[in-house]
């Protein structure tokens, strides 16, 4: 795996040397040569958390780089290489970089098979629910993330996915079918739950109202025991003139049909004017190995520019957990 990381690092360095910086507002869709097909982008965010007990920590959350290749043909490449938590500061401990690690978030090839059928091979975000595939700090309204969107299923899968979209009445129908072909490669990250043998599907009806149904079969692969789960998830999102209402609910079952964990959140966003928004969220989560957790979030976000967002939020609820902090949080994120 170290060799894989080295290969990726060299690829990124190579790409940095040859790529044109991509700008979201100014795409170049003309037929390009091989070299011109490369684009580079990414995002980064930093934030501070004042915990209820008086402790404070601040960190540069990530530096994420996208390298894409697309020359207008049927084959496309996408990768996202991320340096997670490159710098952390904790009250009493000072600065440290020991939490940092390199993560290959996404690394895949897309191939168009027909008008409504595409093939993706490589490492991709698990298409379960809305948040997981849109988790980048500049794209979500809060720094805190609902537990149900990260601890019930693998966040990424190394495998194969068939996907496509077609008109459906006056809306669109989108589908994704995927299966893991190679097991999760990093089992040493303290905060992630290892999964294996994942397969699933997602169906969406998109338009003014967006509805999603996710089905998943996966094995939670802990050191002492491996447990197979089946999961069903429902989600929706509607936006209108700056207002937004979204929700996700996931229910997991053991293979014998017993409750294997569940969770949900509902989030509302209201425009305040001058690109300021108010955010409110309620969430709960329960997983057999962790017990239950409830959170409420009140916050505000300021879109400084279309690609920069400043967030301030207060997270309350029952006892604080490492993976679900509470207190006052302020953060800044930029998409480039």
């Amino acid at each position: 795996m170290r060799n894989m990381h080295l290969l990726i690092a060299v690829s990124v360095a190579f790409a940095l040397g040859i790529c044109k910086i991509a700008v979201a507002e100014e795409p170049d869709l003309n037929e390009a040569s091989f070299i011109d097909g490369f684009k580079l982008g990414g995002y980064t965010s930093a934030g501070i958390n004042l915990h209820p007990g008086g402790k404070t920590d601040a960190k540069l959350n990530e530096l994420s780089l996208f390298v894409t290749w697309d020359n207008g043909g049927r084959l496309r490449f996408f990768s996202e290489i991320e340096i997670e938590k490159p710098l952390t500061w904790r009250s009493g401990d000072g600065f440290t970089g020991k939490d940092s690690y390199l993560d290959i978030e996404r690394f895949y090839l897309d191939f168009n098979l027909s008008e409504k059928l595409n093939l993706r091979t490589g490492r991709f975000l698990t298409p379960t629910g809305r948040w997981n595939v849109m988790h980048a700090a500049p794209l979500v309204w809060t720094w805190s993330r609902p537990l149900v969107t990260s601890r019930m299923f693998p966040e990424a899968v190394n495998g194969v996915m068939f996907y496509g979209a077609a008109p459906f009445s006056d809306k669109a129908f989108e589908y994704k079918l995927f299966i893991e072909a190679m097991q999760e490669r990093s089992r040493d990250r303290g905060d992630s739950i290892p999964y294996k043998d994942t397969k699933g599907m997602r169906f969406e009806i998109t338009g003014k109202f967006n509805w999603g149904l996710s089905l998943l079969d996966t094995v939670e692969d802990l050191d002492l025991v491996s447990t197979r789960y089946r999961m069903v998830g429902l989600d929706f999102m509607v936006q209108h003139k700056g207002w937004e209402l979204s929700a996700e609910a996931l229910q997991r079952y053991y293979t014998n049909g017993n409750d294997g964990g569940s969770g949900a959140y509902v989030q509302a966003v209201a425009p305040l004017g001058n690109q300021w928004f108010a955010i409110g969220r309620l969430e709960n989560f329960q997983r057999p190995a962790e017990g239950s957790s409830e959170r409420w979030v009140l916050g505000t976000a300021w879109r400084v520019t279309p690609s920069q967002v400043l967030k301030l939020e207060y997270v309350g609820g029952d006892r604080e957990r490492v993976e679900s902090p509470k207190g006052v949080m302020a953060s800044f994120a930029i998409l480039f």
């Binding site: 996208f66 168009n112 849109m134 794209l139």
Partner: protein, 156 residues
Amino acid sequence: MRCLITSLLFLIWLLPLHAGAEGEVIAIIIPKAESVKVTSKPELALIFWRKKLYWASSKRIQPVNLSPDNVLRQKFSLQILDSPPEDQLEYWNALYFHGTPPPHVVRSQEAMLRYVADTPGAIGYVDACRADSRVKAVAWLLTDGSVSHVQPSLGC
């Protein structure tokens, strides 16, 4: 004198009517040499949301938009995508996160005609009265919001 005033009044009545007609029907255009079918509004939405990236021939679809503040873009966006361009920012950022850029943007209808005429796989839109022999109109977005595959009477 009375005849002149009557004529002037008639012209004043006629002018806004004509100007309004010119801005009401939108032609969906593709390169003249190409042959593709755009069957419905939902299909146009898939193309301009960049959820459908390839024609049936596996050629890449190259959708083109006018500037966000252009009146025709606003109208097209409301009728096809159900939202004005300024409300689509988060969507385009999200799509960019997945490696797909938004449609190419041109500043004028003349630029739209030239881009579509010269770009294989392109699809764009202009005021139906502005569509000319450089491109092929494959559908018309009518005043009632419906899509017609037969050229309507334009009164250009």
